[in-house]
């Protein structure tokens, strides 16, 4: 039984230059205890998806449709009061930038305690004690002493830990981490990722990790969703995506990243640039950069957007090319042959 169901989520932002369709028909489910990785480059819509799930988008400036269902309740149509009661308790979010997500004027302990007080009718002292416990839980040394420190007295890694403490203090069933380690060094990133994995085990939460780093996904995710220009282009288990990728964009991402455990004479980039969301190509949005396009007969790629179709159970791909042809093109590409 999935905990969160997202059905045909669409988010558009009207601008002076036209409508920006940031998220275009995203659907997925996630169970408790599982981790979903959402991968994509800047502008692919991965962060907007997470903000829409948390109902953090300002509805004055965003046109949102579709369904975000948590325990039978559709949050897209729910009123602000209901959404507030879900936020924190049912779902919580860890933001990308720990430097700017904490209020500089309040002590770290107070900020964590505030998140607890919103949902629990407790005294200030009790909430602060709970905050100290949470800071201890996420590995802040001497939490009783450090709780009264201000954010500037914390290092980047400790601030991210404080953010995690804040997100976890109401035992949320769904934790969304939006680029949780992008601003951090690798050694600190390793600490934070192992912390997220630990708390997931302890609280049996559903976790969504949004990142552009394929290594992070490989480490934490059970299932992976690859996004490009607002759409899901491939979706499957972590092994499907890394060992049997089919969508040329996924293949391109895997082959263009230099690897720590690999020697190559030359990187194989994806040519061109991601399209502007204001002027999306008529057909497949990846077509102008696609290296497999020549294998498709006719001009389907330039005229129609392919559907996200199942290629094998649990593995969906959005591409006009036949599955067998996709696999052989992918193999060649990953072996550095085209």
């Amino acid at each position: 039984m999935s905990y969160l169901e997202v059905k045909d989520l669409r988010v558009a932002f009207p601008t002076d230059d036209g409508l920006v369709q940031a998220v275009d028909g995203v659907s997925f489910n996630i169970e408790r205890g599982k981790t979903l990785g959402i991968v994509g480059e800047s502008g692919s819509g991965k962060s907007v998806t997470s903000l829409a799930i948390m109902s953090l988008l300002n509805r004055k400036h965003a046109i949102i449709s579709g369904e975000v269902i948590i325990e039978g309740k559709n949050l897209i149509t729910a009123d602000e009061e209901t959404v507030r009661s879900y936020r924190g308790h049912e779902m919580a979010m860890i933001f990308q930038d720990p430097m700017s997500s904490l209020h500089p004027f309040f002590s770290v302990g107070d900020q964590v305690a505030e998140a607890y007080k919103v949902h629990n009718d407790v005294s200030d002292e009790k909430a602060f004690d709970h905050a100290i416990q949470m800071l201890d839980r996420v590995g802040i040394p001497e939490p009783a002493k450090r709780a009264s420190d201000f954010p500037h007295q914390f290092s980047g890694g400790m601030r991210q830990r404080a953010m995690i403490a804040m997100a976890l203090c109401n035992d949320p069933s769904l934790l969304i981490a939006d680029e949780p380690t992008t601003a951090l060094d690798v050694t600190v990133q390793a600490q934070i990722l192992s912390l997220i994995k630990d708390v997931q085990k302890e609280f049996n939460s559903a976790v969504i990790v949004i990142t552009h780093d394929l290594g992070v996904v490989a480490e934490v995710a059970d299932d992976v969703m690859v996004m490009y220009a607002g759409r899901v282009v491939e979706r499957g288990t972590v092994n499907d995506i890394f060992y049997r990728p089919e969508m040329p964009y996924t293949v391109g991402l895997l082959s263009s990243a230099p690897r720590l455990d690999q020697v190559s004479d030359r990187l194989i980039p994806i040519e061109g640039q991601p399209p502007s969301l204001l002027r999306l190509p008529a057909g497949c949005s990846f077509a102008p950069r696609c290296f497999a396009k020549s294998h498709v007969n006719g001009d389907a790629c330039d005229t129609t957007m392919p559907e996200l179709l199942q290629t094998r159970p649990g593995h969906d791909v959005r591409c006009h090319l036949e599955s067998s042809a996709r696999i052989s093109v992918a193999k060649q590409r990953l072996a550095g042959e085209n």
Partner: protein, 367 residues
């Protein structure tokens, strides 16, 4: 090996910490770079890696005298430039250049691309054959920009294209040495590969030497011939790249490499990770002795007393550690995943203690 194009000896770069009040008094120093020595050889790429705050960018800037070093010696193409004046440095600037990290703030938004790339010619009073405009358009073409976009402004370009503009500007005067300060870290993966390939190509074409400053160990592995690892103002380990990635000896290098997640779920789940505890100590008040000892699992009493010298443990392989760890680190396999081809002859052979197992991930997930 050939002559070093740049030779740095015991370079120190301190920034004073001032306390302002009725009288401004100096209360200490941020020891951003505290006695590093390295040589960049003709035509090679030396990677300089480390985490934020380790002093790698400062070292890069001081190396081409964008900063005035506190101590040490810098020799560029046989000339001591440690204390060279601005006037003495100016002609040298045609030989050494820099590409900056942030393609958004390193280009003047009020100047056209043509003017930005032409600036080196104008500042140095160089008159290229056929005129400046022609030279600029050739440069734009060379780095993969449309020469017709000569009159556009930086805001009309994407991050990757802006970084190409920065590269075009840096090669305008045909330098011999370029400091690349995190040139691709602000770019998306697919674009990153384009710029890395461009840097590779122009290095070959113009016989450039690079000092490549970066925190991304995977990119550094791809582009470098040799790699130096910095921690808190000191060089911890320096060697050729294959040795560094396959058989690192310094506990910090080992921890750093083990912390990078691999885009390979099965290999990833079977790796042993060395989790460093805590954070980087303050460079204002670094630990006594070895600067890494506060986070090192192998630290002993000696480490608190004595800063280990950078000493040679094998030809071309130097480390600064009292207790180098040779066999503990499980070596990262060098291979070409997604391919059954044999290893290219250029890469070194490494001990592969576990290749028979599923460590490579290939064996049991095949079709």
């Amino acid at each position: 090996m050939t002559e070093p194009i740049l030779s740095i000896t015991d370079l120190q770069m301190y920034f004073p910490v001032m306390k302002t009040g009725l009288r401004t008094v100096k209360t200490g120093d941020v020891k951003a770079v505290d006695g590093i020595s390295l040589d960049v050889m003709q035509g090679e790429t030396l990677g300089l890696v480390g985490e934020s705050g380790c002093g790698k960018s400062t070292a890069g800037r001081a190396a081409i005298r964008l900063l005035n070093p506190t101590g040490g010696k810098i020799v560029f193409e046989g000339q001591d430039i440690t204390n060279a004046s601005r006037r003495e440095l100016r002609p040298l600037r045609t030989r050494m250049q820099m590409v900056f990290q942030d393609p958004y703030s390193s280009l003047n938004p009020r100047h056209t691309v043509g003017r930005i790339i032409a600036a080196p010619f104008e500042i140095q009073g160089v008159k290229p054959e056929g005129g400046i405009k022609k030279a600029v358009q050739e440069l734009m073409e060379r780095v993969g920009l449309n020469p017709e976009h000569y009159n556009r402004y930086p805001n009309e370009f994407s991050g990757g294209q802006r970084q190409r503009i920065g590269v075009a500007r840096s090669i305008a005067l045909r330098p011999s040495f370029i400091v690349l300060d995190e040139p691709v870290s602000a770019l998306d993966v697919s674009i990153q590969a384009q710029v890395v390939n461009l840097l590779d190509d122009i290095q070959k074409e113009f016989k450039l030497s690079y000092l490549f400053v970066a925190h991304d160990l995977s990119v550094v592995r791809h582009i470098s011939d040799r790699v130096a690892v910095m921690y808190l103002g000191h060089i911890m380990e320096i060697t050729d790249r294959d040795t560094l990635y396959a058989a690192p000896q310094h506990p910090y290098t080992q921890a750093l490499l083990s912390a990078v997640p691999l885009p390979d779920p099965i290999a990833e789940s079977q790796r042993e990770r060395i989790l460093l505890q805590g954070d980087l100590p303050s460079p204002i008040n670094p630990p006594s002795g070895c600067v890494f000892r506060t986070r090192c699992v192998f630290a002993q009493d000696l480490c608190a007393v004595d800063m280990p010298e950078l000493r040679e443990v094998a030809p071309g392989h130097k480390i600064a550690c009292h207790f180098p760890q040779i066999s503990l680190q499980k070596q990262i396999e060098i291979r070409r995943p997604h391919s059954d081809q044999p290893m290219p002859p250029s890469s070194i052979q490494v001990d592969r203690p576990q290749t028979s197992g599923p460590a490579s991930g290939r064996d049991f997930v095949g079709e």
